[in-house]
């Protein structure tokens, strides 16, 4: 991972914007931002960002590579698409946030203890195992992601939610023994491995 980071630093020596355009999902849109601030002002997470979207886009153009990719900012995005609906320049902001988050993580720069960094990976691992999300296992892995003691505490705090869901038939305790899965689960794994391989070779091959 950090090898890839070094390679990228080398390749795009003085232009983080170029690197973003080439390697970040929908990153080629960043240069279209006119810094009006509508996105940041429309965002439900406005009080929680280290750097709101508008600022991140400015920082990309100002070559603040480390600061952007290791920021917790993009991980605050709830995917509400309010910014997209309102941006006068039509930037796919939500997707750029997701793209920056994923790229930072791929390079090993994303903050390791950030809860959404961890949760999004748990979610992906959960769904790719069988092709479908197993809500019970996902919930449990979430509670225990900060260690066993923390896990028990969270599980107890969430007890009423869990019991309520079970009582109303919306949580199946037996999912722990397998649960829903796709017949083509191994196919799905193969397909995803191929997609990942292509995505990584696209990154490596780009001559910036």
């Amino acid at each position: 991972m950090s090898d890839m980071n070094t390679a990228m630093v080398e390749k795009y020596r003085s232009s983080f914007l170029k690197e973003v355009e080439a390697n970040v999902e929908e990153g080629d849109w960043v240069k279209m931002c006119m810094q009006c601030g509508v996105c940041s002002g429309s965002c439900p997470m406005e009080n929680n960002w280290e750097h709101p979207p508008q600022e991140l886009f400015m920082m990309i153009r100002a070559n603040k590579r480390e600061e952007v990719l290791s920021s917790s900012s993009m991980w605050m995005c709830t995917s509400c698409y309010n910014c997209i609906a309102r941006c006068p320049r039509g930037l796919p902001i939500t997707h750029i946030m997701h793209g920056l988050a994923h790229y930072g993580k791929r390079l090993g720069l994303a903050p390791k203890e950030q809860p959404t960094v961890k949760f999004s990976q748990l979610f992906w691992d959960n769904l790719t195992k069988t092709g479908r999300v197993n809500e019970l296992k996902l919930g449990l892995s979430l509670y225990f992601m900060n260690g066993f003691g923390e896990g028990i505490k969270t599980a107890l705090k969430m007890k009423d939610v869990g019991l309520g869901m079970m009582k109303t038939g919306r949580l199946n305790p037996f999912e722990i023994f397998g649960g829903h899965s796709c017949k083509g689960a191994s196919d799905i794994k193969k397909m995803l491995a191929k997609a990942k391989e292509i995505e990584e070779s696209n990154t490596a091959e780009f001559k910036g």
């Binding site: 609906a85 479908r132 809500e135 919306r170 997609a195 292509i198």
Partner: protein
């Protein structure tokens, strides 16, 4: 033959005993009433939802949706794909757009599908949200005709939320103040809260799990605004909204000193009751906060 027929993408949260199985159940009920046939996509898989991006990059995520599209075509030809979940709808619709617009994505996705011996044949079918089908194909008039027990006297806040409303939204509706859910509420005989100012606010989505305090603060405002408008209950078209706004009320009460206890139901639950079906068919047993007024009507 049914009057309307679609290829159906249920999504992970609609599986048996999953968190929105009540949505699935009540949707089946209204489909029976409205003569809509939903043909499941065989062996469908998860769409990656809006939180999959951390672990899966662009191509892996789009491949997931592409597999569903290919499976749908293989089994049901060019039938429109219908999803009840906002995230499923969005991901699948977006995948189609990206595959069509980007050569790089298209080539990548075709190679990934090729790896497992399937392909997207010809043009991809449209993916539509269940509410689009209800509004555009069935229509308010036909829904109104089915109403046997108007939900008179009930005041309901129509919480549209994010992803059913943006980025695609429902054709002809504004992003800031969409009216279709209010119209649905009125079509089944209830009163919609006008000027429900948190109508399209975000509930925090998946961040409810990773950043519960921040998300719960958002949900608190959504509930408060419904109470301010005099609502007896909240209705929503999205399984994430339903879950986030319903099940954390106890925790919000503890942390914020509030006293919330407002039921959050699906539009399909409202319709099932109004169409004269019983509490079970309307999936009222799936409410964590019981919708007593609806139960009373359903049991009459």
């Amino acid at each position: 033959m049914a009057k309307y027929e679609y290829s159906f993408y249920p999504g992970c949260s609609s599986q048996s005993k999953a968190s929105s199985v009540n949505y699935q159940k009540s949707t089946q009920t209204i489909c029976e009433e409205l003569d809509i046939q939903l043909n499941d996509i065989p062996d469908w898989n998860c769409c990656g939802a809006s939180i999959g991006y951390g672990g899966g990059g662009e191509l892996p995520r789009i491949s997931l949706s592409a597999r569903n599209i290919a499976q749908s075509q293989q089994a049901h030809g060019q039938q429109d794909i219908v999803a009840t979940c906002a995230a499923c709808w969005l991901a699948t619709r977006e995948a189609k757009e990206r595959i069509e617009d980007s050569e790089k994505v298209r080539t990548g996705v075709n190679a990934a599908l090729g790896e497992i011996g399937i392909e997207i044949a010809t043009e991809m079918p449209k993916t539509r949200h269940m509410v689009e089908v209800l509004i555009e194909d069935v229509g308010y008039n036909e829904i109104a005709e089915k109403v046997k027990r108007p939900l008179e006297g009930l005041k309901i806040a129509g919480y549209v939320g994010c992803q059913t409303n943006r980025p695609f939204g429902i054709d002809g509706e504004s992003y800031e103040n969409p009216k279709y859910l209010d119209k649905m509420i009125e079509t089944v005989g209830a009163d919609a809260v006008v000027n429900y100012d948190k109508k399209v606010s975000c509930c925090g989505g998946a961040l409810m799990f990773s950043e519960p305090q921040k998300s719960q603060a958002l949900v608190k405002d959504i509930i408060e605004s419904a109470y301010d408008g005099g609502a007896d209950m909240i209705v929503t078209p999205c399984p994430v909204c339903q879950m986030n706004v319903e099940v954390y009320q106890g925790q919000i009460n503890k942390d914020h000193g509030t006293n919330f206890n407002i039921p959050v139901v699906y539009y399909s639950t409202l319709m099932s009751v109004a169409f004269g079906r019983n509490a079970k068919d309307a999936a009222l047993d799936g409410q964590m906060i019981r919708a007593k007024q609806l139960e009373d009507i359903a049991n009459k």
